[in-house]
Symmetry: C2
């Protein structure tokens, strides 16, 4: 009896010590101790402290994140553009008409910049046309296969390793504090859902993105959902708050982006009542990643940066704020 | 020391006893012990037993439910039609043109059946036109206000009390077993989100429904989302599996409906791999609720009932399977 008691008390003691140790452990170890990190820690403490005037119920702790340039890199071209390019090349032999038809022509001629300037819409058009008649399950398999076989031109690693370690830590930290984390990206929703759960721990139902039209049909008696050659929704700029309203139906209290494409999402988040956190990743690190902002064709950050500075939103200086950029 | 030990052991003992007592408590007390109840209990046990060949990871335990006729009643007319009617009447003095224009004409003349036959689309058209220019927040307030002030013609109680107690128990039972519960309804998503969280414990981000187009704009510098006079998506029949793919992006393992409008959602759910549960509420109780199926204008249940019978899906006989219908 005494032995059992001592064991139980020892276990309780260990649990207590472990709890205390856990509490003082740094939840954001690859963030330098600057203003950005401090603002995040302070915000989370405020909204999770019961009795505080800033307290937010767990159900309302909605955090939305852009993906390209916020969670993973977007240079030298958006990774989904590379996917589209690779798909067009693979299918081109069966489509001689693409040689003279835009945006396929730019892609086949290797003019990635010209294509990239077409924005999310051009990507979606290519994705929609290319994959017309394909079922959602077939498309999912193609994306996974491409990710497994393709590497990034600069880092020579699979694209799903070119992710920002500090942002992964922020995701885990928010979730540990009762936040529900969503992606709200201009990227194709079916493209992202093929890998986000494994990479970010974000389930498919918490991904908002651009999408093509689809139809339901029975193929040999088996129900399938088939991709159609038409754009249904573009989740970029003004589309982001709309996407949040359509898919989430509740205003976030945290929004993180990196470009003017995220500006309206940040404005929408900022305009709610109570405590809110608006963040921008500023790409300032040409050595470890890339440095670009106001004049970039990809991930242009200009007006949102002005508003962030004017309103005191958190701007993460990648070079100064991050000890490490990628997990590798 | 001995006192502390005894106390700890007593607490552990109590926790154990409580656990056992909890396990034998009936999670579905208002369901009679028939085939329907047995099929649900068996299914949940199978997919939640680790090591079983039918085991499903918690993240994949997606359960989708229709709303009208499945969670709450839909007679004598869909509750949202009553809402639309009340709104049209309230606004009619400012819209003399509605007297000659359908579907407003039917509504103003009190011809609810003619209007109801226009289906979800007619409702959406009325909702969209009526609320054009209104912000999503204003609309939310109008729905809540209507619910608070209006009562059901037969039961003389607020519409949000005309819900099925056995289905509320099923929802709680599934959630206690790690399921994520969604509504996938032909009803307007903004209409439902105004009250589903309080009533069903389903958060707004887990509601898939029909929707009108919206736009984002700055009004006096304040960002708002404004309703536009156009239908964006009809979440009924073939639209339901599409809605599931768009909003959830993962195939459910449980689907529950009550009409042919849910047929494709059940087919889509049934066509996945592993264990799945397809259920239909069959309205067979004219005394406590209503009895209707193959020839009803509202909630017609014909082809889905045939397939359910042929494939062994669970058909809930409201009269036989439910001890009680409503919470009151």
């Amino acid at each position: 009896m005494t032995y059992i008691c001592t064991s139980i008390l020892a276990l309780l003691f260990l649990a207590l010590v472990h709890g205390i140790a856990g509490a003082v452990e740094d939840p954001l170890p690859t963030w330098n101790d600057g203003a950005a990190k401090k603002s995040m820690l302070l915000f989370v403490e405020k909204v999770t402290t019961e009795g505080s005037t800033d307290f937010v119920l767990p159900a309302e702790r909605i955090a939305v994140f852009d993906n390209d340039g916020t969670f993973w890199a977007e240079q030298p071209i958006h990774f989904q553009v590379q996917f589209a390019l690779d798909r067009v090349k693979a299918l081109a032999p069966n489509h001689p008409e693409w040689k003279t038809r835009q945006p396929f022509k730019s892609l086949l001629e290797g003019d990635k910049q010209a294509f990239a300037m077409g924005g999310e819409k051009a990507i979606l058009e290519v994705m929609a046309v290319k994959h017309t008649g394909m079922t959602t399950e077939e498309f999912d398999g193609i994306v996974k296969d491409w990710l497994a076989k393709t590497t990034h031109p600069r880092f020579k690693r699979p694209y799903n390793e070119i992710v920002y370690q500090p942002m992964l830590e922020l995701l885990a930290y928010l979730r540990a504090n009762g936040f529900k984390t969503f992606i709200v990206s201009g990227g194709g929703v079916e493209f992202m859902r093929a890998w986000v759960e494994k990479l970010y721990g974000i389930p498919p139902e918490q991904v908002v993105g651009s999408m093509g039209k689809q139809k339901f049909e029975l193929r040999d008696g088996k129900p399938v959902i088939v991709k159609l050659p038409a754009v249904d929704f573009v989740d970029d700029k003004e589309g982001k708050p709309i996407g949040i309203q359509k898919f989430i139906g509740r205003r976030p209290i945290v929004a993180f982006g990196n470009s003017d494409g995220d500006h309206q999402m940040l404005q929408w988040t900022a305009a709610g009542g109570g405590s809110r956190f608006m963040g921008l990743v500023h790409h300032t690190d040409a050595e470890r990643e890339w440095a670009y902002d106001r004049t970039s064709h990809i991930g242009k950050l200009d007006k949102a940066l002005d508003e962030a500075n004017a309103k005191g939103w958190t701007v993460v200086d990648m070079k100064e704020d991050w000890k490490r950029v990628f997990p590798f």
